[in-house]
Point group: D2
Chain length 134, copies 4
Protein backbone atom coordinates (compact mmCIF):
# COMPACT_ATOMS: atom_id res chain seq x y z
CA UNK A 1 0.00 0.00 0.00
CA UNK A 2 1.31 3.42 -0.98
CA UNK A 3 1.70 5.90 1.90
CA UNK A 4 2.77 9.53 2.07
CA UNK A 5 2.85 11.98 4.99
CA UNK A 6 1.88 15.66 4.91
CA UNK A 7 1.83 18.29 7.63
CA UNK A 8 -1.45 20.10 8.24
CA UNK A 9 -0.45 23.72 7.62
CA UNK A 10 -1.81 27.00 8.93
CA UNK A 11 -3.31 27.61 5.51
CA UNK A 12 -5.27 24.34 5.70
CA UNK A 13 -7.09 25.35 8.89
CA UNK A 14 -10.32 27.27 9.32
CA UNK A 15 -11.39 29.87 11.92
CA UNK A 16 -12.37 27.01 14.26
CA UNK A 17 -8.68 25.99 14.17
CA UNK A 18 -9.34 22.66 12.44
CA UNK A 19 -8.77 21.36 8.93
CA UNK A 20 -11.06 22.93 6.32
CA UNK A 21 -12.32 20.00 4.22
CA UNK A 22 -11.62 21.49 0.74
CA UNK A 23 -7.96 21.68 1.83
CA UNK A 24 -8.15 18.01 2.82
CA UNK A 25 -8.98 17.26 -0.81
CA UNK A 26 -5.96 19.29 -1.96
CA UNK A 27 -3.84 17.03 0.25
CA UNK A 28 -5.64 13.90 -1.04
CA UNK A 29 -4.91 15.10 -4.55
CA UNK A 30 -1.22 15.54 -3.71
CA UNK A 31 -1.21 12.00 -2.27
CA UNK A 32 -2.78 10.69 -5.49
CA UNK A 33 -0.19 12.68 -7.44
CA UNK A 34 2.58 10.83 -5.62
CA UNK A 35 0.71 7.51 -6.00
CA UNK A 36 0.50 8.17 -9.77
CA UNK A 37 4.25 8.50 -10.10
CA UNK A 38 4.97 5.52 -7.81
CA UNK A 39 2.33 3.07 -9.04
CA UNK A 40 1.68 4.04 -12.66
CA UNK A 41 5.36 4.77 -13.20
CA UNK A 42 4.67 8.12 -14.88
CA UNK A 43 4.42 11.39 -13.00
CA UNK A 44 1.57 13.77 -13.76
CA UNK A 45 3.75 16.08 -15.83
CA UNK A 46 4.58 13.17 -18.15
CA UNK A 47 0.98 11.96 -18.10
CA UNK A 48 -0.37 15.39 -19.02
CA UNK A 49 2.23 16.85 -21.34
CA UNK A 50 3.74 13.80 -23.03
CA UNK A 51 1.03 11.13 -22.91
CA UNK A 52 -1.84 13.68 -23.00
CA UNK A 53 -3.71 11.63 -20.42
CA UNK A 54 -5.64 12.94 -17.42
CA UNK A 55 -7.25 11.09 -14.53
CA UNK A 56 -10.19 13.23 -13.43
CA UNK A 57 -12.37 12.27 -10.48
CA UNK A 58 -15.92 11.23 -11.37
CA UNK A 59 -17.10 10.20 -7.90
CA UNK A 60 -15.90 10.91 -4.41
CA UNK A 61 -17.17 9.75 -1.04
CA UNK A 62 -15.62 10.98 2.19
CA UNK A 63 -16.32 10.34 5.86
CA UNK A 64 -14.75 12.56 8.48
CA UNK A 65 -14.33 10.90 11.86
CA UNK A 66 -12.16 13.25 13.92
CA UNK A 67 -10.94 16.83 13.40
CA UNK A 68 -7.28 17.53 12.55
CA UNK A 69 -5.36 20.48 13.92
CA UNK A 70 -2.53 22.78 12.91
CA UNK A 71 0.76 20.90 12.83
CA UNK A 72 -0.73 17.39 12.74
CA UNK A 73 1.36 14.95 10.73
CA UNK A 74 -1.18 13.16 8.54
CA UNK A 75 -0.45 9.78 6.94
CA UNK A 76 -2.28 9.19 3.65
CA UNK A 77 -2.51 5.48 2.79
CA UNK A 78 -3.68 4.90 -0.79
CA UNK A 79 -5.06 1.48 -1.70
CA UNK A 80 -6.02 0.50 -5.26
CA UNK A 81 -9.39 -1.16 -4.81
CA UNK A 82 -10.69 -1.89 -8.31
CA UNK A 83 -9.43 -1.47 -11.86
CA UNK A 84 -11.98 -1.03 -14.67
CA UNK A 85 -11.53 -0.78 -18.40
CA UNK A 86 -10.64 2.90 -18.14
CA UNK A 87 -11.31 3.60 -14.48
CA UNK A 88 -9.71 3.00 -11.11
CA UNK A 89 -11.13 3.14 -7.58
CA UNK A 90 -8.85 4.28 -4.79
CA UNK A 91 -9.38 4.13 -1.04
CA UNK A 92 -7.58 6.75 1.00
CA UNK A 93 -7.30 6.25 4.75
CA UNK A 94 -5.92 9.27 6.59
CA UNK A 95 -4.56 8.87 10.10
CA UNK A 96 -2.54 10.87 12.62
CA UNK A 97 -0.27 8.75 14.81
CA UNK A 98 -2.55 5.81 14.00
CA UNK A 99 -5.80 7.59 14.86
CA UNK A 100 -8.27 7.69 11.96
CA UNK A 101 -9.16 11.19 10.80
CA UNK A 102 -11.00 10.67 7.54
CA UNK A 103 -11.42 8.22 4.70
CA UNK A 104 -12.14 8.94 1.04
CA UNK A 105 -13.10 6.71 -1.86
CA UNK A 106 -12.30 8.02 -5.32
CA UNK A 107 -13.41 6.82 -8.73
CA UNK A 108 -11.24 8.26 -11.46
CA UNK A 109 -11.38 7.74 -15.23
CA UNK A 110 -8.43 7.76 -17.60
CA UNK A 111 -9.18 10.51 -20.09
CA UNK A 112 -7.70 11.46 -23.45
CA UNK A 113 -7.03 15.18 -22.94
CA UNK A 114 -7.42 15.91 -26.66
CA UNK A 115 -10.95 14.50 -26.94
CA UNK A 116 -11.81 14.71 -23.22
CA UNK A 117 -13.23 11.16 -23.60
CA UNK A 118 -12.55 8.10 -21.46
CA UNK A 119 -9.83 5.88 -22.89
CA UNK A 120 -8.88 2.29 -21.89
CA UNK A 121 -5.82 1.73 -19.74
CA UNK A 122 -2.73 0.96 -21.83
CA UNK A 123 -1.70 -2.63 -21.03
CA UNK A 124 1.48 -1.70 -19.07
CA UNK A 125 -0.46 0.67 -16.81
CA UNK A 126 -3.29 -1.83 -16.31
CA UNK A 127 -0.74 -4.50 -15.35
CA UNK A 128 0.80 -2.20 -12.78
CA UNK A 129 -2.62 -1.35 -11.32
CA UNK A 130 -3.74 -4.98 -11.20
CA UNK A 131 -0.59 -5.89 -9.30
CA UNK A 132 -1.68 -3.35 -6.66
CA UNK A 133 -5.16 -4.85 -6.32
CA UNK A 134 -4.03 -8.46 -5.98
Amino acid sequence: MFTVTFTLRFGHCDPAGIAFYPRYFELCDAAIEDWTAAVLGHDRRTMHLDLRLGLPTVALHADFSRASRLGDRLDFAVRTRRVGNSSVDLDLAVTCAGEPRFAARYTMVLTDLASMQATPWPAPLRDRLNKEVE
Copy 2:
Protein backbone atom coordinates in the same frame (compact mmCIF):
# COMPACT_ATOMS: atom_id res chain seq x y z
CA MET B 1 -35.03 25.83 -2.70
CA PHE B 2 -32.10 28.13 -2.02
CA THR B 3 -30.00 29.02 -5.08
CA VAL B 4 -26.85 31.08 -5.54
CA THR B 5 -24.68 31.68 -8.61
CA PHE B 6 -20.88 31.82 -8.74
CA THR B 7 -18.49 32.35 -11.63
CA LEU B 8 -15.82 29.71 -12.19
CA ARG B 9 -12.65 31.74 -11.86
CA PHE B 10 -9.17 31.30 -13.33
CA GLY B 11 -7.97 30.26 -9.86
CA HIS B 12 -10.54 27.45 -9.75
CA CYS B 13 -9.19 25.78 -12.91
CA ASP B 14 -6.42 23.23 -13.32
CA PRO B 15 -3.76 22.78 -16.03
CA ALA B 16 -6.33 20.86 -18.12
CA GLY B 17 -8.37 24.10 -18.12
CA ILE B 18 -11.27 22.63 -16.17
CA ALA B 19 -12.51 23.04 -12.60
CA PHE B 20 -10.20 21.46 -10.00
CA TYR B 21 -12.52 19.55 -7.66
CA PRO B 22 -11.16 20.89 -4.31
CA ARG B 23 -12.09 24.37 -5.59
CA TYR B 24 -15.60 23.06 -6.33
CA PHE B 25 -15.88 22.29 -2.62
CA GLU B 26 -14.78 25.83 -1.75
CA LEU B 27 -17.66 27.07 -3.90
CA CYS B 28 -20.06 24.54 -2.31
CA ASP B 29 -18.96 25.81 1.07
CA ALA B 30 -19.66 29.39 0.01
CA ALA B 31 -23.12 28.29 -1.19
CA ILE B 32 -23.75 26.61 2.18
CA GLU B 33 -22.50 29.80 3.87
CA ASP B 34 -25.17 31.80 2.04
CA TRP B 35 -27.77 29.08 2.72
CA THR B 36 -26.89 29.30 6.45
CA ALA B 37 -27.66 33.01 6.59
CA ALA B 38 -30.82 32.70 4.47
CA VAL B 39 -32.33 29.54 5.98
CA LEU B 40 -31.03 29.43 9.56
CA GLY B 41 -31.39 33.19 9.88
CA HIS B 42 -27.89 33.62 11.35
CA ASP B 43 -24.79 34.20 9.27
CA ARG B 44 -21.66 32.21 10.01
CA ARG B 45 -19.97 35.09 11.81
CA THR B 46 -22.88 35.21 14.27
CA MET B 47 -22.99 31.41 14.50
CA HIS B 48 -19.27 31.18 15.25
CA LEU B 49 -18.52 34.24 17.33
CA ASP B 50 -21.80 34.91 19.14
CA LEU B 51 -23.56 31.54 19.34
CA ARG B 52 -20.27 29.55 19.39
CA LEU B 53 -21.82 27.00 17.05
CA GLY B 54 -20.15 25.33 14.07
CA LEU B 55 -21.58 23.08 11.38
CA PRO B 56 -18.74 20.78 10.29
CA THR B 57 -19.17 18.25 7.51
CA VAL B 58 -19.09 14.61 8.64
CA ALA B 59 -19.90 12.94 5.31
CA LEU B 60 -19.75 14.09 1.73
CA HIS B 61 -20.64 12.31 -1.49
CA ALA B 62 -20.09 13.93 -4.87
CA ASP B 63 -20.67 12.84 -8.45
CA PHE B 64 -19.15 14.80 -11.29
CA SER B 65 -21.02 14.50 -14.57
CA ARG B 66 -19.50 17.12 -16.89
CA ALA B 67 -16.43 19.35 -16.65
CA SER B 68 -16.78 23.11 -16.03
CA ARG B 69 -14.59 25.69 -17.70
CA LEU B 70 -13.18 29.14 -16.96
CA GLY B 71 -15.92 31.74 -16.92
CA ASP B 72 -18.83 29.31 -16.53
CA ARG B 73 -21.69 30.72 -14.46
CA LEU B 74 -22.56 27.92 -12.04
CA ASP B 75 -25.91 27.77 -10.25
CA PHE B 76 -25.77 26.06 -6.86
CA ALA B 77 -29.21 24.81 -5.74
CA VAL B 78 -29.22 23.77 -2.06
CA ARG B 79 -32.04 21.51 -0.87
CA THR B 80 -32.52 20.57 2.80
CA ARG B 81 -33.14 16.83 2.61
CA ARG B 82 -33.29 15.61 6.21
CA VAL B 83 -33.07 17.17 9.68
CA GLY B 84 -31.77 15.06 12.56
CA ASN B 85 -31.47 15.79 16.26
CA SER B 86 -28.23 17.68 15.70
CA SER B 87 -27.56 17.01 12.02
CA VAL B 88 -28.77 18.15 8.64
CA ASP B 89 -28.40 16.60 5.18
CA LEU B 90 -28.13 18.92 2.20
CA ASP B 91 -28.29 18.12 -1.50
CA LEU B 92 -26.42 20.46 -3.78
CA ALA B 93 -27.16 20.34 -7.50
CA VAL B 94 -24.78 22.41 -9.61
CA THR B 95 -25.72 23.35 -13.15
CA CYS B 96 -24.53 25.71 -15.90
CA ALA B 97 -27.33 27.11 -18.05
CA GLY B 98 -29.42 24.14 -16.92
CA GLU B 99 -26.82 21.49 -17.76
CA PRO B 100 -25.86 19.34 -14.74
CA ARG B 101 -22.20 19.59 -13.79
CA PHE B 102 -22.00 17.90 -10.40
CA ALA B 103 -24.07 16.97 -7.38
CA ALA B 104 -22.99 16.74 -3.75
CA ARG B 105 -24.70 15.36 -0.67
CA TYR B 106 -23.52 16.75 2.65
CA THR B 107 -24.17 15.56 6.18
CA MET B 108 -23.29 18.24 8.71
CA VAL B 109 -23.55 18.19 12.50
CA LEU B 110 -24.28 21.17 14.73
CA THR B 111 -21.31 21.43 17.05
CA ASP B 112 -20.65 23.33 20.27
CA LEU B 113 -17.32 25.02 19.48
CA ALA B 114 -16.32 25.11 23.17
CA SER B 115 -16.62 21.34 23.70
CA MET B 116 -16.36 20.34 20.02
CA GLN B 117 -19.30 17.99 20.72
CA ALA B 118 -22.53 17.59 18.75
CA THR B 119 -25.38 19.64 20.19
CA PRO B 120 -29.14 19.45 19.39
CA TRP B 121 -30.67 22.06 17.13
CA PRO B 122 -32.20 24.92 19.12
CA ALA B 123 -35.98 24.82 18.51
CA PRO B 124 -36.13 28.01 16.36
CA LEU B 125 -33.40 26.69 14.03
CA ARG B 126 -34.99 23.23 13.82
CA ASP B 127 -38.32 24.82 12.94
CA ARG B 128 -36.72 26.79 10.14
CA LEU B 129 -34.98 23.69 8.79
CA ASN B 130 -38.11 21.54 8.97
CA LYS B 131 -39.99 24.17 6.99
CA GLU B 132 -37.38 23.69 4.24
CA VAL B 133 -37.83 19.91 4.17
CA GLU B 134 -41.60 19.94 4.01
Copy 3:
Protein backbone atom coordinates in the same frame (compact mmCIF):
# COMPACT_ATOMS: atom_id res chain seq x y z
CA MET C 1 -12.33 53.39 -11.67
CA PHE C 2 -13.45 49.77 -11.81
CA THR C 3 -14.89 48.39 -8.54
CA VAL C 4 -16.17 44.98 -7.51
CA THR C 5 -17.32 43.65 -4.14
CA PHE C 6 -16.61 40.22 -2.66
CA THR C 7 -17.59 38.67 0.66
CA LEU C 8 -14.80 37.35 2.86
CA ARG C 9 -15.75 33.70 3.21
CA PHE C 10 -15.08 31.14 5.92
CA GLY C 11 -12.58 29.49 3.58
CA HIS C 12 -10.61 32.74 3.28
CA CYS C 13 -9.98 32.97 7.03
CA ASP C 14 -7.18 31.49 9.11
CA PRO C 15 -7.17 29.99 12.64
CA ALA C 16 -6.84 33.53 14.05
CA GLY C 17 -10.23 34.25 12.43
CA ILE C 18 -8.85 36.84 10.00
CA ALA C 19 -8.18 36.84 6.27
CA PHE C 20 -5.26 34.62 5.23
CA TYR C 21 -3.22 36.74 2.81
CA PRO C 22 -2.84 34.14 0.00
CA ARG C 23 -6.66 34.11 -0.17
CA TYR C 24 -6.60 37.90 -0.47
CA PHE C 25 -4.59 37.42 -3.64
CA GLU C 26 -7.18 34.97 -4.96
CA LEU C 27 -9.77 37.70 -4.45
CA CYS C 28 -7.48 40.31 -6.08
CA ASP C 29 -7.10 37.96 -9.01
CA ALA C 30 -10.88 37.61 -9.31
CA ALA C 31 -11.15 41.43 -9.24
CA ILE C 32 -8.55 41.66 -12.01
CA GLU C 33 -10.48 38.97 -13.91
CA ASP C 34 -13.59 41.18 -13.82
CA TRP C 35 -11.51 44.27 -14.66
CA THR C 36 -10.11 42.40 -17.70
CA ALA C 37 -13.58 41.75 -19.10
CA ALA C 38 -14.81 45.27 -18.31
CA VAL C 39 -11.77 47.32 -19.37
CA LEU C 40 -10.05 45.22 -22.03
CA GLY C 41 -13.39 44.16 -23.46
CA HIS C 42 -12.39 40.47 -23.60
CA ASP C 43 -12.96 38.03 -20.75
CA ARG C 44 -10.16 35.72 -19.69
CA ARG C 45 -11.69 32.72 -21.46
CA THR C 46 -11.56 34.63 -24.75
CA MET C 47 -8.09 36.01 -23.96
CA HIS C 48 -6.72 32.55 -23.17
CA LEU C 49 -8.51 30.23 -25.57
CA ASP C 50 -9.22 32.45 -28.58
CA LEU C 51 -6.54 35.15 -28.51
CA ARG C 52 -3.95 32.87 -26.80
CA LEU C 53 -2.89 35.79 -24.60
CA GLY C 54 -2.11 35.69 -20.89
CA LEU C 55 -1.43 38.48 -18.43
CA PRO C 56 0.88 37.01 -15.77
CA THR C 57 2.02 39.05 -12.78
CA VAL C 58 5.72 39.93 -12.76
CA ALA C 59 5.78 42.14 -9.66
CA LEU C 60 3.47 42.57 -6.73
CA HIS C 61 3.65 44.88 -3.72
CA ALA C 62 1.07 44.71 -0.96
CA ASP C 63 0.56 46.59 2.29
CA PHE C 64 -1.89 45.30 4.85
CA SER C 65 -3.29 47.97 7.16
CA ARG C 66 -6.14 46.32 9.07
CA ALA C 67 -7.32 42.73 9.39
CA SER C 68 -10.54 41.57 7.71
CA ARG C 69 -12.96 39.14 9.30
CA LEU C 70 -15.43 36.47 8.26
CA GLY C 71 -18.43 38.02 6.49
CA ASP C 72 -16.78 41.37 5.71
CA ARG C 73 -17.95 42.87 2.43
CA LEU C 74 -14.75 43.98 0.70
CA ASP C 75 -14.72 46.56 -2.08
CA PHE C 76 -11.90 46.12 -4.59
CA ALA C 77 -11.18 49.33 -6.53
CA VAL C 78 -8.89 48.72 -9.52
CA ARG C 79 -7.09 51.72 -11.02
CA THR C 80 -4.98 51.50 -14.19
CA ARG C 81 -1.84 53.39 -13.26
CA ARG C 82 0.56 52.98 -16.17
CA VAL C 83 0.50 51.31 -19.58
CA GLY C 84 3.77 50.10 -21.08
CA ASN C 85 4.56 48.59 -24.45
CA SER C 86 3.43 45.17 -23.28
CA SER C 87 2.83 45.78 -19.58
CA VAL C 88 0.25 47.37 -17.33
CA ASP C 89 0.44 48.53 -13.70
CA LEU C 90 -2.68 48.27 -11.58
CA ASP C 91 -3.38 49.70 -8.14
CA LEU C 92 -5.89 47.82 -6.04
CA ALA C 93 -7.34 49.52 -2.97
CA VAL C 94 -9.42 47.25 -0.78
CA THR C 95 -11.81 48.71 1.75
CA CYS C 96 -14.66 47.57 3.99
CA ALA C 97 -17.40 50.17 4.49
CA GLY C 98 -14.80 52.78 3.50
CA GLU C 99 -12.12 51.59 5.92
CA PRO C 100 -8.83 50.67 4.20
CA ARG C 101 -7.83 47.03 4.64
CA PHE C 102 -5.01 46.52 2.17
CA ALA C 103 -3.55 47.90 -1.03
CA ALA C 104 -1.73 46.05 -3.79
CA ARG C 105 0.23 47.21 -6.79
CA TYR C 106 0.53 44.78 -9.68
CA THR C 107 2.75 44.83 -12.73
CA MET C 108 1.51 42.42 -15.37
CA VAL C 109 2.90 41.64 -18.82
CA LEU C 110 0.87 40.66 -21.88
CA THR C 111 2.23 37.28 -22.91
CA ASP C 112 1.86 35.16 -26.03
CA LEU C 113 0.85 31.81 -24.55
CA ALA C 114 2.37 29.88 -27.49
CA SER C 115 5.89 31.32 -27.05
CA MET C 116 5.49 32.43 -23.41
CA GLN C 117 7.14 35.71 -24.48
CA ALA C 118 6.00 39.27 -23.83
CA THR C 119 4.02 40.73 -26.73
CA PRO C 120 3.00 44.37 -27.36
CA TRP C 121 -0.56 45.44 -26.65
CA PRO C 122 -2.74 45.29 -29.76
CA ALA C 123 -3.78 48.88 -30.59
CA PRO C 124 -7.46 48.48 -29.58
CA LEU C 125 -6.50 47.12 -26.16
CA ARG C 126 -3.87 49.81 -25.64
CA ASP C 127 -6.42 52.49 -26.51
CA ARG C 128 -8.84 51.11 -23.96
CA LEU C 129 -6.13 51.00 -21.29
CA ASN C 130 -4.89 54.51 -22.04
CA LYS C 131 -8.43 55.81 -21.67
CA GLU C 132 -8.40 54.38 -18.13
CA VAL C 133 -5.15 56.10 -17.21
CA GLU C 134 -6.11 59.54 -18.48
Copy 4:
Protein backbone atom coordinates in the same frame (compact mmCIF):
# COMPACT_ATOMS: atom_id res chain seq x y z
CA MET D 1 20.11 30.25 6.01
CA PHE D 2 17.00 28.15 6.42
CA THR D 3 15.94 26.16 3.33
CA VAL D 4 13.01 23.87 2.60
CA THR D 5 11.93 22.16 -0.62
CA PHE D 6 8.37 21.76 -1.91
CA THR D 7 7.02 20.16 -5.07
CA LEU D 8 4.83 22.29 -7.31
CA ARG D 9 1.60 20.31 -7.36
CA PHE D 10 -1.18 20.01 -9.94
CA GLY D 11 -3.37 22.08 -7.61
CA HIS D 12 -0.82 24.92 -7.63
CA CYS D 13 -0.98 25.36 -11.42
CA ASP D 14 -3.31 27.46 -13.54
CA PRO D 15 -4.91 26.82 -16.94
CA ALA D 16 -1.71 28.06 -18.60
CA GLY D 17 0.04 25.13 -16.87
CA ILE D 18 2.23 27.34 -14.68
CA ALA D 19 2.22 28.24 -10.98
CA PHE D 20 -0.71 30.45 -9.96
CA TYR D 21 0.83 33.18 -7.78
CA PRO D 22 -1.61 32.97 -4.82
CA ARG D 23 -0.52 29.31 -4.48
CA TYR D 24 3.11 30.49 -4.43
CA PHE D 25 2.22 32.49 -1.32
CA GLU D 26 0.69 29.40 0.27
CA LEU D 27 4.04 27.68 -0.29
CA CYS D 28 5.93 30.73 1.05
CA ASP D 29 3.73 30.61 4.12
CA ALA D 30 4.52 26.92 4.61
CA ALA D 31 8.24 27.75 4.30
CA ILE D 32 7.84 30.50 6.93
CA GLU D 33 5.93 27.99 9.09
CA ASP D 34 8.93 25.65 9.00
CA TRP D 35 11.31 28.59 9.54
CA THR D 36 9.27 29.59 12.62
CA ALA D 37 9.74 26.19 14.24
CA ALA D 38 13.42 25.96 13.29
CA VAL D 39 14.53 29.54 14.05
CA LEU D 40 12.16 30.76 16.76
CA GLY D 41 12.19 27.35 18.42
CA HIS D 42 8.38 27.24 18.74
CA ASP D 43 6.09 25.81 16.09
CA ARG D 44 3.00 27.74 15.05
CA ARG D 45 0.68 25.54 17.08
CA THR D 46 2.62 26.42 20.23
CA MET D 47 2.87 30.08 19.17
CA HIS D 48 -0.88 30.33 18.56
CA LEU D 49 -2.43 28.12 21.19
CA ASP D 50 0.04 28.28 24.07
CA LEU D 51 1.83 31.62 23.70
CA ARG D 52 -1.19 33.31 22.01
CA LEU D 53 1.17 35.02 19.58
CA GLY D 54 0.67 35.49 15.85
CA LEU D 55 3.01 36.79 13.17
CA PRO D 56 0.82 38.40 10.51
CA THR D 57 2.28 39.87 7.34
CA VAL D 58 2.05 43.67 7.09
CA ALA D 59 3.98 44.16 3.85
CA LEU D 60 4.93 41.88 1.01
CA HIS D 61 6.93 42.53 -2.14
CA ALA D 62 7.40 39.83 -4.77
CA ASP D 63 9.18 39.68 -8.11
CA PHE D 64 8.55 36.79 -10.46
CA SER D 65 11.38 36.08 -12.86
CA ARG D 66 10.55 32.75 -14.51
CA ALA D 67 7.44 30.56 -14.55
CA SER D 68 7.36 27.26 -12.63
CA ARG D 69 5.67 24.14 -13.93
CA LEU D 70 3.91 21.07 -12.59
CA GLY D 71 6.35 18.79 -10.79
CA ASP D 72 9.10 21.39 -10.32
CA ARG D 73 11.04 20.91 -7.09
CA LEU D 74 11.24 24.40 -5.60
CA ASP D 75 13.84 25.36 -2.99
CA PHE D 76 12.71 28.10 -0.60
CA ALA D 77 15.66 29.84 1.10
CA VAL D 78 14.54 32.05 3.99
CA ARG D 79 16.95 34.73 5.20
CA THR D 80 16.28 36.89 8.27
CA ARG D 81 17.12 40.37 7.06
CA ARG D 82 16.16 42.74 9.88
CA VAL D 83 14.76 42.43 13.39
CA GLY D 84 12.71 45.30 14.81
CA ASN D 85 11.21 45.84 18.23
CA SER D 86 8.21 43.70 17.32
CA SER D 87 8.80 43.04 13.63
CA VAL D 88 10.97 40.91 11.40
CA ASP D 89 11.84 41.18 7.72
CA LEU D 90 12.41 37.99 5.78
CA ASP D 91 13.81 37.50 2.28
CA LEU D 92 12.66 34.42 0.45
CA ALA D 93 14.55 33.33 -2.65
CA VAL D 94 12.88 30.54 -4.59
CA THR D 95 14.85 28.52 -7.10
CA CYS D 96 14.48 25.31 -9.12
CA ALA D 97 17.75 23.43 -9.65
CA GLY D 98 19.52 26.74 -8.97
CA GLU D 99 17.48 28.78 -11.44
CA PRO D 100 15.73 31.76 -9.82
CA ARG D 101 11.94 31.63 -10.07
CA PHE D 102 10.78 34.35 -7.72
CA ALA D 103 11.80 36.36 -4.68
CA ALA D 104 9.62 37.72 -1.89
CA ARG D 105 10.32 40.16 0.93
CA TYR D 106 8.04 39.91 3.94
CA THR D 107 7.57 42.25 6.88
CA MET D 108 5.77 40.54 9.73
CA VAL D 109 4.78 41.86 13.14
CA LEU D 110 4.59 39.85 16.35
CA THR D 111 1.02 40.22 17.55
CA ASP D 112 -0.75 39.48 20.81
CA LEU D 113 -3.73 37.44 19.62
CA ALA D 114 -5.86 38.54 22.59
CA SER D 115 -5.55 42.28 21.88
CA MET D 116 -4.54 41.96 18.19
CA GLN D 117 -1.87 44.57 18.96
CA ALA D 118 1.85 44.47 18.15
CA THR D 119 3.96 43.19 21.02
CA PRO D 120 7.77 43.32 21.48
CA TRP D 121 9.81 40.18 20.87
CA PRO D 122 10.44 38.26 24.09
CA ALA D 123 14.22 38.37 24.73
CA PRO D 124 14.88 34.67 23.93
CA LEU D 125 13.13 34.97 20.56
CA ARG D 126 14.89 38.23 19.73
CA ASP D 127 18.24 36.63 20.55
CA ARG D 128 17.50 33.75 18.23
CA LEU D 129 16.48 36.12 15.43
CA ASN D 130 19.51 38.36 15.88
CA LYS D 131 21.77 35.34 15.61
CA GLU D 132 20.23 34.73 12.18
CA VAL D 133 20.88 38.27 10.98
CA GLU D 134 24.49 38.41 12.06
